[in-house]
Amino acid sequence: MNPEVEEKITPLRIYRKTISSKKRKFAFELLSLIVILSAIILTGNFFLIWLTSLALIYSSLTLSWAFMEDMGGRTSLGHTIPFGLSAYLSAILLILTKRPESVLFSWIAAGMVSAIIFYILSRIDRVGFVFITFIVGASAWLISPLILLKVNGELIGGEEGFSIFTISLERIYIISSTFMILLFAFFSLFSLNYRSLVFKAMRDDEKAARASGIKIDRLKLYISIISCIPASISGGLYALLFSHVSPDSFSIHIAIFPFIASVFSRDESLSGRIVGSFILVFISNYMNSLLPESYLLLYAAILILSPRIVRMRFFRMEILGG
């Protein structure tokens, strides 16, 4: 081999080359996403736009969930806490104050409250974290029908939930697509930045990270905040899309949605998770048209088979070297 060429292939060059190729891939994915989402709104097809808005909201939830998984190594089955809390808080504040800008406050407030809950829960070990987030999320689902408001002498809420004002579908679509694109860009660029390495180190081994001098408690707090606030905004958008909030915002099927949408995607692939979310929303809708809510059977089947699917994914990764 030519010694000059050999000299050039250094570990640092290989690393930089890998990062550059990942950045090019990200740019391509981002551009494709913008083109596809623009094309959808140009069709003017009401149902397609509505369904895509829903898929965008679910994708945002999945991306926020994935941040906790990819950076903190924590699988949450309780992302319905920020999602549902924000939906409820937005609805309640809108009803009480009748000021649209109150939703912004409720998104941030619900996100911060959830971040504190998740930060406290993240002190438990990883297996325990899955259980406890599930239990807290499911408890919120069971308690939510007890939320009642007295407006003009009339009790509202409970199982029925709250109805809020309607905003145009185009507006919701634009907000949710912009939000999802920003989220995708932020998380992707963060993952490619050297600063994400300490998070990934903690994700892989908390004890080894501590031995290296990484302050894991601080990182856990950042992860909780960065993951919960977007999940909370997704919940708020969900409420606006349906113009209604009910205990369903905390339901188990929303809690497991990000997990299921991520089962088939490659390790740390955010685009794969978006595609997974879109496929799930569109298939669910198709199955719904055949037999209402039969999509939950699909969720059940994926959950049951998930360990095997994930193992196959890792096996492929090892064989093909990433």
Binding site: P11, V198, K200, D204
Partner: protein
């Protein structure tokens, strides 16, 4: 100087360490050997901050660090290499070292240091491999290399030769010799004294939680 003063450790009713006193100076290499369950790993865990002593004190340059957690001790210059390697599994070998180097230097400098370390530890050929896919010997090297990347004053190597074949043990031995020239205090634990001969400045035996000079 890293010091232990009257350190004891009790697990339930079992006394694992009994009134240990130890001074480790920078530039000095100490070997501690003893059978399984003698307290070697517990001793290193107390020095690194992963275990708190039941009584006694730990000092670094006369500063009491007994209650200080492991991550803060790492900042103060105490590095710990685990007996069973614990790499950041989904990161590449380069990223494993780079992550640790980043905590001490700016990104450019850390990248150069990482590359240097990879060459020194003969890991440059596998720099873009995922850490989980490394062989046992390579993982041990990575574990020690990552500890060195923290630029420590004191390096604690918990049984670096455990579960290695002769060839890999020889490589590790060579690397420890290289580390001795780096002006840091090194503590190495092992099952037998023979493996430590020619590698350390002083050898100590630990048995039933009592540390004795050879």
């Amino acid at each position: 100087m890293l010091k232990l003063r009257d350190v004891s450790k009790k697990f339930n009713s079992l006394m694992v360490l009994k009134k240990i006193n130890l001074d480790i100076r920078t530039g000095e290499t100490i070997g501690i050997y003893g059978p399984n369950g003698s307290g070697k790993s517990t001793l290193l865990k107390i020095l690194s901050g992963f275990t708190k002593p039941s009584c006694g004190k730990v000092f670094i340059n006369d500063r009491d660090i007994t209650e200080m957690p492991a991550e803060k001790r790492a900042e103060l210059g105490i590095a710990y290499a685990f007996q069973i390697p614990r790499p950041f599994e989904r990161l590449t070998v380069f990223e494993n070292i780079y992550t640790t180097s980043l905590l001490r230097s700016d990104p450019e400098e850390a990248a150069i240091k990482t590359e240097e370390l990879l060459y020194q530890f003969e890991l440059s050929d596998v720099s873009d491999s995922i850490a989980a896919n490394l062989s046992q010997g390579e993982m041990k090297l990575l574990e020690i290399c990552r500890s060195v990347a923290t630029q420590p004053d004191f390096l604690l190597l918990d049984e670096p030769f455990a579960a290695l074949d002769k060839e890999n043990a020889r490589v590790i031995r060579r690397k420890i010799r290289m580390l001795r020239s780096m002006d840091m205090g090194i503590v190495i634990t092992a099952h037998r004294s023979r493996i430590l001969e020619g590698l350390v400045d002083r050898i100590m035996k630990i048995e039933y939680g009592i540390l004795n000079r050879e």
